[in-house]
């Protein structure tokens, strides 16, 4: 094996240039450290650009507010699975974080008095569950873009070194477990490069692409989560995935809740307004999880629409063209473009769409990756950090509130940056590169070219490699995830899902690349992404099967209620032997009294 790969050295490596990665990079570059940021797409094309709604902070510019009320809402929203120390930290830090962004040049929308304007969203209350609060700061409907753009410009000014369109393959760690950097691939040339660093931050974003119907961009394949798994690090609380009830069927594009707010409603294959049966009062405006489960129940029981009976319909035509044009601008165009129909005349086919991963790489509130160290204790992985949607701090617990994700990525990106500065002060030297670790990373890449053409190991049933292409296997995989690890969870279906995923994992091992050219070989990147998705998908499916209760976004038919006595704990999935462990929830905040679990009524 050729170990004479080109090498570059930096003080710190950041994998991912979304809000989390760029906010960390800025702290570091501003402190004079040499920072490398690797991103598989141009930084301002990171998924953060899609966030339109805004970012939460208790600024109290519109209505009275306090970080403590924000904290209460977040703990309650998490269905008491969030770590209360991390949540307190996030809600307090929200305020300086938003002001820092303002100074970095984010053009927040303003009130007449010049203060930052704040929107009211669901799940936001004053006074610990009292009247509605207004907590979300936005830059028109381009908050994510405005944040990325400002942070990118600031990083250019601060001389952060960007490796744009480089794909990170695997983390490098030495025998003592210390993080040493990563092996990366330049997408254009197909050349590999070793980036050595004293600290490595994983900020690779979400993994919504593991489900067939998702609101997430194609780049969200969970690469960093899978890299962590392969490096022996578990993933936390992966069974908790937020679904939005109304995505355009087969496409995933979100249709905003406002459509139902304005009087739109759902019907099944018999033309029945089925939400009346599931939520007699709230009907189509019931909570997201309830509506999503009702849709899938209708479909599973044979009352879906279309030839395959695999979606339901969202009707708005009764509202009339005028109201649609006035109150729901954009919906008509979206339905035309993505569903090929005019919603003023025809209903829109919809299906729940995978939106946000609450779980991820376990970290503490400083962004440091933590792993179990026997008997309930945890230890920090030296030099390794994670922040953003790929990480689990854990502030969202079993369910995330709108506007809290941009907050999470910014606060913990910043916190990780600050902690890295201290770490490097104490650990100023590069450690020698571990050759075995590098060899493993290179082998992971090379196996796509050099694997002998023989049947994959394991049961003889798996298809020989050539028959099943990466794309076919990807679609098969995403369908299994949707059917068996999605919104609707029964023990039988989940167990079947794990079985099918194991078969897919075997088939994957048998695949190799037909086109082995190096230059712009997108098939190679897609193959690596599929490997990552399958690892992450397995984490979701196994963790879901393991958790025998219903909490937040995880809902099981056989265990329909929350069970705090046995299950107020985090799951940890390890790739080795698909093993699960559990660790306690941190119910003690930093300075205030903890919020004990209570029933979640809205």
């Amino acid at each position: 094996m050729d170990m004479t790969l080109p090498r570059r050295r930096f003080d710190t490596l950041i994998i991912g240039a979304g809000g989390a990665g760029l906010n960390a990079a800025l702290q570091l570059a501003d402190s004079g450290l040499r920072v490398a940021v690797v991103s598989k797409v141009f930084p301002t094309r990171s998924h953060t650009v899609a966030a339109q709604g805004g970012v939460n902070a208790a600024l109290a510019n519109v209505l009275p507010d306090s970080w403590h009320w924000h904290m209460y809402d977040t703990v309650k929203g998490s269905d008491f699975l969030g770590d209360q120390d991390a949540i307190e930290f996030m809600c307090r830090e929200a305020i300086p974080t938003v002001y820092e962004l303002e100074h970095a040049g984010v053009p927040f929308s303003r009130l007449d008095n010049g203060k930052i304007y704040q929107r009211a969203f669901g799940g936001q209350n004053q006074d610990f569950g009292g009247p509605q609060a207004a907590r979300t700061c936005a830059a028109a409907d381009r908050t994510g873009h405005a944040v990325l753009h400002a942070l990118y410009q600031q990083n250019i000014r601060a001389k952060t070194h960007f490796f744009d369109e480089y794909f990170a393959i695997d983390l490098l760690r030495d025998e003592e477990g210390v993080a040493l950097g990563a092996l990366v691939l330049e997408i254009e040339s197909g050349d590999t490069l070793v980036i050595e660093a004293k600290t490595t931050l994983i900020a690779t974003g979400g993994c919504g692409q593991v489900f067939r119907t998702t609101s997430n961009a194609r780049i969200n394949t969970g690469d960093g989560m899978a890299m962590a798994l392969r490096a022996g690090i578990p993933l936390q609380d992966m069974e908790f995935f937020q679904f939005h009830p109304t995505g355009i069927a087969g496409k995933g594009k979100l249709i905003t809740e406002a459509v139902r707010g304005e009087g739109g409603y759902l019907i099944n294959g018999n033309g029945e307004r089925f939400m009346e049966r599931y939520a007699p009062t709230a009907r189509d405006l019931a909570s997201r999880d309830l509506v999503a489960r009702a849709i899938v129940t209708e479909i599973n029981e044979g009352r879906g629409c279309g030839i395959n009976k695999d979606y339901v319909l969202l009707r708005v035509d009764h509202l009339g063209e005028e109201i649609i044009a006035k109150r729901l601008p954009g919906i008509r165009e979206s339905a035309r473009i993505f569903a090929g129909l005019d919603p003023a005349l025809e209903p829109i086919p919809v299906f729940p769409t995978a939106h946000y991963s609450m779980g991820g790489i376990p970290t503490d509130r400083f962004g440091r990756v933590v792993v179990p160290a026997g008997e309930g204790a945890e230890e920090v992985v030296p030099g390794l950090y994670a922040a953003g949607e790929c990480a689990c701090a854990s502030v969202h617990g079993a369910n995330r509130l709108g506007g809290n994700s941009l907050l999470d990525i910014l606060v913990f990106g910043r916190a990780a940056g600050k902690d890295i500065i201290d770490y490097i002060k104490e650990n100023p030297h590069h450690r020698p590169l571990s050759e075995p670790s590098l060899e493993r990373a290179v082998a992971h890449l090379d196996r796509w070219d050099h694997q002998p053409e023989k049947k994959p190991a394991g049961k003889g049933k798996a298809k020989p490699a050539a028959e099943s292409s990466v794309r076919e296997l990807r679609e098969e995989f995403r369908k299994v995830m949707e059917d068996h690890a999605g919104v609707f969870r029964t023990p039988k279906s989940m167990a079947e899902g794990v079985k099918q995923l194991k078969a897919i994992r075997r088939k994957l091992r048998g695949l190799r690349l037909k086109d082995q050219s190096r230059v712009f070989n997108i098939a190679r990147i897609e193959a690596l992404e599929l490997e990552n998705m399958v690892d992450v998908g397995m984490a979701i499916a196994v963790s879901a099967l393991g958790r025998k209760e219903s909490r937040g976004a995880h809902s099981r038919e056989d265990f329909p209620v929350r069970d705090d006595r046995q299950w107020m704990k985090h799951s940890l999935y390890f790739r080795e032997k698909d093993r699960l462990e559990y660790k306690p929830v941190r119910s003690k905040p930093l300075t205030v009294k903890g919020f004990p679990p209570a029933e979640r009524v809205y």
Binding site: H47, E186, N216, Y311, G340
Partner: protein
């Protein structure tokens, strides 16, 4: 760094990666267009598409969702085609892709 010549590299492969965006909407439309419509375009329009991909996501999103229109006439023509790309493409319209 590590710059290599791109002997015989297919422009379409380069564009395929440029069609990976931060928003699902753009991924869907750009990808369907690249697969189905792009190969048959005259060179001038191919070049316009390549330039189009150099713009920021929210700009592309606004134009494609019917908000405002670009000054560049080449872009205006592209946008019309992109808006229907999913529905000229039978593979992309089936509800089980």
């Amino acid at each position: 760094m590590l710059q290599q010549e791109l002997p015989g590299s297919d422009e379409r492969d380069r564009l395929r990666w440029q069609c990976r965006r931060g928003m699902l909407e753009l991924d869907l439309l750009l990808e369907a267009f690249l697969e189905e419509d792009y190969p048959g375009l005259p060179d001038q329009e191919k070049e316009a598409f390549s330039r189009f991909l150099g713009l920021e996501d929210p700009q592309l999103h606004d134009w494609l969702m019917g908000g405002g229109s670009p000054d560049d006439p080449a872009f205006a023509a592209l946008i019309c085609k992109l808006q229907t790309s999913l529905h000229n493409n039978p593979r992309a319209t089936s509800s089980d892709t």
